[in-house]
């Protein structure tokens, strides 16, 4: 039973971690909470939904499951990535020198706009997500894992490994790390910080978009207002791990997923969504820097 909950927790945790990366990366460079990130995640789920629906009627792709999924993920990731760049360019960049409150309000505005746009364009009702591959159960001793869970866990770990390599080993990754530690100094060192910030939004939004598809596949239905609760949980994960810290977001995601699953199973499933909030409040009161975070200098 407890192992079963661990598997559920890790599956969910991987999704939380992918969304949390978007929050934490943006916070790293701009020191702001990108409230619209939860709507980007929702948009990703819908992009994936429409892509997968249309692929199933294209003869060339119909029988190639691998290609279908690959294309759906890549296109949806690019679309949400571009959405992220657009949002940064128009809603946040003009406010970069404003007080800390204003970008947050602007983000909320974007969030309301996107949610209602999807409600009007798609429908206010929940949409059933297409079943991509048949779910098979595998039994490992006492442990039973289904193919969907294995798929989600694999995808999330794969993406995080790739991201980690990109941030640590490549030139662009170094630029991101430099900008994250000090925007002004990075600019003086010849880094085009505006492009780096765009890149950060692209990557964060792209990962959020993929998480959207994974949630759609896991729960089998998507809705225009699904972003909020996942967004806030992923944000909790980012805070738990130490906001601004990339490995922290991953650890926080998995930890939150597991804690939530255990809480659901052993305390009460009615209060499923309360656990994340309680963890959030406790972390912020007891150790606001999170598990791996360092004290972030207040931005003046």
């Amino acid at each position: 039973m407890i192992f079963q909950q661990l598997i559920n927790g890790i599956t969910l945790g991987g999704i939380y971690a992918l969304i949390a990366l978007g929050y934490t990366m943006v916070y790293g460079v701009l020191l702001m909470i990108n409230f619209a990130h939860s709507e980007i995640f929702m948009a990703g789920a819908f992009f994936g939904f429409f892509l997968l629906i249309s692929f199933s009627s294209i003869p060339f792709l119909q029988n190639n499951l691998f290609l279908q999924l690959l294309l759906a993920f890549l296109i949806s990731m690019s679309l949400t990535g571009i959405l992220g760049i657009i949002i940064e360019r128009f809603a946040y960049r003009p406010l970069r020198k404003a007080s800390r409150l204003t970008p947050l309000i602007s983000a909320i505005g974007v969030s309301i706009f996107l949610q209602n746009l999807f409600m009007l364009v798609v429908s206010p009702q929940a949409k059933p997500f297409p079943e991509i591959f048949p779910v098979k159960n595998f039994q490992f001793g006492v442990l039973s894992v289904n193919s969907l869970q294995i798929f989600i866990i694999t995808i999330s770990i794969l993406l995080m490994v790739v991201l980690n390599y990109f941030i640590k080993q490549t030139k662009l990754g170094t630029a991101i790390r430099a900008t994250s530690s000090d925007v002004e100094t990075a600019a003086l060192m010849g880094i085009n910080t505006n492009s780096v910030i765009s890149l950060v939004f692209f990557i964060g939004a792209g990962l959020g978009g993929i998480a959207g598809i994974l949630v759609g596949m896991y729960y089998g239905s998507i809705k225009y207002n699904m972003g909020f609760i996942y967004g806030i949980k992923a944000f909790t994960a980012a805070v738990l791990g130490g906001i601004g810290n990339i490995p922290g977001a991953m650890i926080g995601g998995y930890l939150l997923g597991v804690l939530e699953s255990l809480g659901c199973a052993y305390i009460s499933s009615a209060y499923k969504d309360v656990f994340a909030f309680i963890i959030l409040i406790l972390v912020l009161i007891i150790k606001p820097t999170g598990i791996l975070g360092e004290r972030v200098q207040e931005k003046c």
């Binding site: 809603a91 409150l101 602007s106 505005g109 309301i112 706009f113 209060y271 309680i278 959030l280 912020l284």
Partner: protein, 324 residues
């Protein structure tokens, strides 16, 4: 002594009373209803403005205290207590929760505080939603309307929409006067000092965490009053009225109207509560669909082009001028 400004204010209140009276005579219940609703929102926004506008603490869970006020009023009124007893008790209960939350939070700054208050708002809503024994869950408390004691003032009993309108107006105007006194007091100046530069305020000898806590707790009084009146007026309460988006809506009224400026935030209420309702009546159902879409877009545009709000606070410029 009545100066020009005071006379203007009194004239404004008289006009509102006259409009309300004629709306009532003409049986325009809907318009009167909207006016009362706007009054409730003004009460809420007055409280929120004290935290966001004056002290500069971003609170995204203010609606939770409106909910706590409303639920305590509903539960007490079922026990048969009268409005004048429920009101202070509910204010105390709400203030107690606000204190409990605020005490450990005052070390946090900016975004962190925003997120914790958001979290508390959601926890409150989820608890109200799930604690069936006390709150009857998502269905809300039924029959409050029938079991509630009508508000009595000496021998007069509040029965009609118009009576409630006057009650709301009384509390709104009273709160505005009270808040203006606070704003001009030493504490009010300390609020603004903290908003402008917390470190400098601390160095100047202000006990910032106490003052912040004072602002935080005092603001909940207005939320409680609004909640208690709302329950007596509408006679129904359910967790659905207290979502995160309601909190956001309130923050938008404060920020778009003009943070820290009483006239500004009242204008924010008229803009965000009044206009959509009146437009819905005049333009019909189609408009409702696009309302929030336009609203979201407007928020971004306004914040970019007029970050200080539509009617910005004059205080800083005034104080600079008077120094000369």
């Amino acid at each position: 002594m009545l100066n020009k400004r005071k006379m203007l204010e009194i004239a404004l209140i008289l006009i509102i009373i006259i409009i309300a009276y004629f709306l009532h005579i003409e049986q325009e219940f809907y318009s009167l209803h909207i006016l009362s609703l706007m009054g409730i929102y003004v009460l809420l926004v007055l409280g929120l403005n004290m935290v966001i506008g004056n002290t500069g603490l971003l609170d995204l869970g203010f609606i939770a205290f409106y909910a706590i006020g409303a639920y305590s009023a509903a539960l007490l009124s079922i026990k048969g207590l009268s409005f004048w007893i429920i009101l202070p008790i509910s204010i105390l209960i709400t203030g107690f929760f606000r204190f409990l939350l605020g005490k450990p939070l005052m070390r946090l700054r900016g975004d962190y505080l925003a997120i914790v208050t958001l979290g508390f708002g959601e926890i409150t809503r989820l608890v109200l939603n799930n604690w069936d024994y006390l709150t009857n869950g998502p269905k809300g408390l039924p029959g409050v309307g029938e079991r509630i004691q009508p508000i009595k003032l000496f021998t007069f009993t509040f029965t009609q929409e118009l009576h409630y309108f006057y009650l709301i107006l009384f509390f709104t105007v009273g709160s505005i006067f009270a808040i203006r006194r606070v704003e001009r007091s030493k504490i009010g100046r300390a609020f603004v000092a903290i908003r402008e530069d917390e470190t400098a305020a601390e160095v100047s000898g202000i006990n910032t965490s106490d003052i912040k806590l004072f602002s935080f707790v005092t603001s909940s009084i207005f939320a409680a009053i609004a909640g208690v009146i709302y329950v007596h007026w509408i006679g129904f309460v359910s967790p659905e009225s207290f979502t995160f988006w309601e909190s956001v809506f309130l923050v938008c009224m404060v920020v778009l109207g003009g943070m820290g400026n009483l006239l500004g935030i009242i204008f924010g209420v008229v803009l965000l509560v009044g206009t959509p309702e009146f437009l819905r009546v005049t333009l019909g159902g189609e408009f409702v669909l696009y309302r929030m879409l336009i609203f979201g877009l407007l928020m971004v545009i306004l914040v970019i082009f007029r970050p200080q709000g539509i009617i910005p606070e004059k205080r800083r410029t005034l104080e600079l001028v008077s120094e000369k």
